[in-house]
């Protein structure tokens, strides 16, 4: 492969990335209205299988740190800081779950311990590596929301 071909491929990839980004709503542009975010923040539906991975991944959602979830019983040690997420989809609709994952403080109030996973309204002295970034990407938020929608008791 020639250098120029690699270069063109890189430019093409960036252009594609740019197109996808154009449909993604930036963290500070997401509007939470009446504790809901109705539309996907990427413009497309999330993938529940990937969402299950992001939910459990300690470097991503790390949701098990605080929440129990029977669907992930193969993973040891579920936290008990937040409520169990068994049947979460029976208690919340998709728009509500999306709002909670994006910025729970706009749903439960400023005092909640739950971090905002797609919010830049965070604590002081953010470490260099995390400055200006969110815990989850927009795509991961949608994946996690799609996964949460599968957690039904009935």
């Amino acid at each position: 492969m020639t250098k120029s071909l690699i270069y063109s491929l890189a430019v093409a990839t960036m252009a594609l990335g740019g197109t996808a980004l154009a449909e993604t709503i930036a963290p500070d542009a997401v509007e939470i209205v009446d504790m809901e975010v109705n539309a996907s923040i990427t413009g497309s539906a999330g993938n529940a299988t990937d969402g299950r991975d992001a939910f459990a991944d300690r470097k991503k959602g790390n949701c098990l740190a605080c929440h129990a979830n029977s669907d992930l019983k193969e993973q040891l040690f579920h936290g008990e800081v937040g409520p169990s997420l068994d049947g979460a989809a029976d208690r919340w609709n998709e728009a509500q779950l999306r709002a909670i994952v994006i910025d729970s403080k706009q749903v439960f109030g400023e005092q909640t311990v739950m971090p905002g996973f797609y919010s830049l309204n965070v604590g002081i002295n953010v470490a260099e590596d995390f400055k200006g970034t969110t815990i989850l990407t927009a795509e991961e938020v949608e994946d996690v929301v799609a996964y949460l929608m599968t957690l039904k008791d009935n």
Partner: protein
Amino acid sequence: MIKMRTLTAVMSGLLAATAATAVLAGGPVDEALIIDGETEITTRTAAPEGHPFDELISGWHYRTDETRALQADSFQNPGMLYVERGEEIWNTADGAAGKSCADCHGDASESMKGVGAAYPKWDAASNRPVNIELQIDACRKNNMQAEPYKFDAADQKALTTYIRHQSQGMPVGIDLSQGEMQSWWDNGKDLYYTRTGQLNLSCANCHEENNGNYIRADHLSQGNVNGFPTYRLKQSEMVSLHNRFRGCIRDTRAEFPAAFSDELMALEVYVTWRGTGLAVETPAVRQ
């Protein structure tokens, strides 16, 4: 007895594995800490006035059967090796003045008794609170003509552990009436409730609002500091208080302040006060 403890721990592990999604049995265990069957340690006590809790509980109560047993037996407690090393340092001359700690302070079991329970304290010379590490450094510089220790140098941890150990069993009580201690306490309190980092968490979010709950496999305690320096099994070594502060702050995905900085000294003053009346445990054993 040891076998029983191991069996219990294994069984708890199995239970956790099979019932991972069930709510874990939270809360502190109801048990007394008696070291070597002789020294009873006050691990629960009524909180001082103005404290958010009614009862203060040592982190010992939040650890596993095995970890608690390690601390209750000074022959098994790995932290006691640091106490022994600290005693050697205490008696060894260092620096241009050719003096050891013992040359001025004599027998530490007498001269240092109670010291570790009352630090940090106001230091007029530096116009700020000092902890044991900073007091050692001042002594080294002014009286021994020796270099101050680098933060978390093995000898700094051992000597600090040795000195604080001389107060084992004595209640923590710092004097906030000296100098500007009260304003440092105020600053420390502000920091305690300030959320840091991308995860947006304060000390209070975990140790005030959620002590007794599990965060994944970690049982959150009240965050009392009466056992520091503490032997942590996770790191297989002695961990200083400022190292632990920095670790907690780093875990919120924040930049952490320098050891002995104004921020962390203020936090040490405030958090030490939060454990008023609990006995010094040094060296405590934790997860």
